[in-house]
Symmetry: C2
Subunit: 150 residues, 2 copies
Amino acid sequence: MAEQQKTLLILERYMPYRLSIVSNKVSSIVAQTYKDKFALSITEWRIMAVLGEYPGASADEISLKTQIEKSLISRAIGNLLKRKLVVRNVARDDKRRSEVTLSKAGYEVYAEIVPLSLQYEKELLDCLSSEEQTMFSDVIERLYEHAQTL
Amino acid sequence: MAEQQKTLLILERYMPYRLSIVSNKVSSIVAQTYKDKFALSITEWRIMAVLGEYPGASADEISLKTQIEKSLISRAIGNLLKRKLVVRNVARDDKRRSEVTLSKAGYEVYAEIVPLSLQYEKELLDCLSSEEQTMFSDVIERLYEHAQTL
DNA sequence: ATAAATTAGTTGTAATTGCAACTAATGTCA
DNA sequence: TGACATTAGTTGCAATTACAACTAATTTAT
């Protein structure tokens, strides 16, 4: 008695979907904090985070790091400049590039957000054992590398 | 000789960031296929995927499942109706609700996309051992549950 | 039974986004 | 050297999105 098997996708087990649900949930929780306490959008915060790690990064480098469209980066930098959270200087060796840096005020905001972010990450991950955390971190890395080759 | 430790966040190791990068990469690769071959947006495809699994789901249920804004769902269903990929009927027991179902044509598109999606998922995950896949699946699940409590 | 609250879904509108076109600067190479 | 291609960044604009306001139906509670 052969059963007719209909084509079916179980969304709840489909990894691209699950990844996006988890990632959106996590990001939106974090985003809410940035927005409420510092009036920063995710894009603005990501830019500042890159600059904290790579002072003097160009718009293009930031776009690469964050995977955010360069026009969005351009406009977000504009806002951060208006709010004097970052400083921009034309690069000496290439007048097309601009090097962006956190201002003093920007760094102060950054220094306030970082511990909150790390604390949030810690709380998020504390549902995993430390072996799981290590493995998860490794797996995410490989998935990313591998996805790029597909 | 105490070192001055500046506050610093290493983005490449920050899990919310890594999750979003991987998820976006994966989703955008998949999205390109839907768009090129079937002229479906991610939202439209997600709705169809829910309907494949839950025929007769309401807009609200779809919104819950996909975590997509209900106004987006409403407009996307409007488009799918125009393209006759779904059918909508007012629910008998509650005239506010509408029950949405894949049409014959909709199911044909669905039945064509599902194997492609499963194949893509398989290729994505084949950089992981089967133990890793199991662990990863379990961890994603727990992270999602846990994130909601934060 | 009925007034008030809640829920499903739609729609108006302002803000955000993504893409392509554009300017200016630099790199390539015959 | 000088034409052509490439790169960094900005901007115009159409499309998409998010939020709130709204209608209609249902539920709750008095």
